[in-house]
């Protein structure tokens, strides 16, 4: 199975996110529209087309979750304000989700904060440090 197919399967299994084939093309770890991909290849600018979809372990990137997280149907956790602040600071949060170890899409109200990893007892923030600073400095 190709890398982009593996990623598409993974986000569908984990979060129920289905990306329409005709709209998006995954090449390696980048996500771009089909038309942008075709034109980018033609003009040899693919490396600057779209944005990173995932890391080398196929874990979705913060940008990907921010852009497509609203399509998720499962493994979503809504936090309260104090928990959201702690999550944004990069702190782990003790919660009982009744789930095994897995990645969770973390929300505050209807806003997607980013990805968290739940190890069965605590939820660890996967929001990149630079983005955490952005939230802490600008929002909280």
């Amino acid at each position: 199975m190709k890398r982009e197919e593996l990623f598409a399967k993974k986000i569908k299994d984990q979060f129920g996110i289905v990306i329409e084939d005709k709209l998006f093309y995954f090449k390696g770890v980048r996500v771009a529209s089909n038309e942008a991909y075709k034109n980018g290849v033609k003009e040899r600018v693919l490396s600057s087309t779209g944005f990173l979809a995932c890391d080398s372990w196929l874990v979705p990137s913060h940008s990907f979750i921010q852009t497509y997280g609203h399509l998720a149907k499962k493994n979503i956790k809504k936090l309260k304000e104090q928990e959201a602040k702690a999550f944004a600071r990069g702190e782990s949060i003790k919660v009982n989700l009744g789930l095994d170890k897995k990645y969770i899409i973390v929300k505050y109200k209807d806003y997607i904060l980013g990805l968290g990893f739940y190890n069965g007892k605590i939820l660890k923030s996967r929001v990149p440090p630079k983005k955490r600073r952005e939230i802490i400095n600008n929002i909280l």
């Binding site: 709209l23 529209s33 034109n39 003009e43 806003y111 600008n138």
Partner: protein, 287 residues
């Protein structure tokens, strides 16, 4: 240049005191329709805002920095002046078209065009400064734009063909951008920079297919950077000025350039309570 000299100069175009009275009075944001539709935004956002002549652009009523809101962080909104948002709206790129942005960073017009195209088609954005490109990347990622390639380079030298539309928002003396811009300006700056503006406009025009359309825009008032640049294109290529697709408060182009220039928009701060701008819509006709 001191303020009196500048006011005298600006008075040759419009009411200068009135322009100063309206500078920087309002702050605007654009709802990013790639991430949220306007009705949904109205239900969810806690910001206080007023409607404007453009459905997707709102005037912020709260005394807060737009960049410090949840909505900004999540890419639901982008700070953009009302005048600036008119550029992509006037160009009106359609789904599946190919668009070139000749001076893309920081990406307000490019990301607006992407939203109008619903993330389909293709936008080729060029800029030449690393720092500006970094902020452009930040914006396209935050706003969820996936139909765009960003290229570092000299837009005058990059030759492309058969593009449907072009955004030509050129570097300018920015006299419309704020009340103190004139302090670092004298009329010779406009003459110098207009050479680059003419080259960029011609290059963008040559990148279009026959029937292709571009918008030429600046955030300044001097005719050397506005009417003269457009006139240069009309004299050197098979180009035609188009009527603006909708009405809004504006002045027409300067009369001495002919009746045709009534189709361009000179926007002064008091027209829209926003930045000063010049916008022309131009079509490439069959040779």
């Amino acid at each position: 240049m001191d303020k009196k000299e500048f006011l005298d100069w600006l008075n040759s175009y419009t009411d200068a005191e009135k322009c100063f009275a309206y500078f920087n009075k309002a702050s605007y944001f654009r709802i990013n329709e790639l991430k949220i539709n306007i009705e949904e935004f109205k239900k969810r956002s806690i910001l206080n805002y007023k409607d404007t002549i453009l459905e997707e652009v709102k005037e912020l009523e709260d005394k807060i920095a737009i960049g410090k809101t949840w909505e900004y962080f999540l890419g639901l909104i982008h700070p953009q002046s009302l005048s600036s948002a008119l550029v992509a709206k006037i160009l009106a790129p359609k789904e599946h078209e190919k668009v070139i942005d000749m001076a893309a960073a920081p990406g307000s017009k490019l990301t607006h065009a992407s939203a109008l195209m619903r993330n389909t088609g293709y936008i080729y954005g060029i800029d030449f400064k690393d720092q500006k490109i970094a902020s452009l990347f930040g914006n396209i990622t935050r706003l969820g734009v996936v139909n765009t390639s960003i290229v570092k380079g000299d837009s005058v030298k990059i030759k492309l063909k058969d593009y449907d539309k072009a955004i030509v928002d050129v570097p300018c003396t920015s006299l419309g951008s704020g009340p103190s811009a004139y302090l670092r300006w004298d009329p010779s700056h406009s003459k110098k920079i207009s050479t680059l503006q003419k080259k960029m406009l011609l290059r963008a025009f040559d990148n279009l297919k026959e029937g292709g359309i571009l918008t030429y825009s600046t955030c300044t008032y001097s005719e050397e950077e506005n009417e003269q640049v457009v006139k240069y294109l009309l004299e050197n290529r098979d180009a035609k000025l188009l009527d603006l697709p909708f009405e809004f408060p504006r002045d027409k182009g300067l009369k001495e350039y002919g009746k045709e220039f009534s189709k361009v928009a000179r926007i002064y701060p008091y027209h829209l309570n926003s930045e000063g701008f010049f916008i022309a819509k131009i079509k490439k006709v069959s040779s």
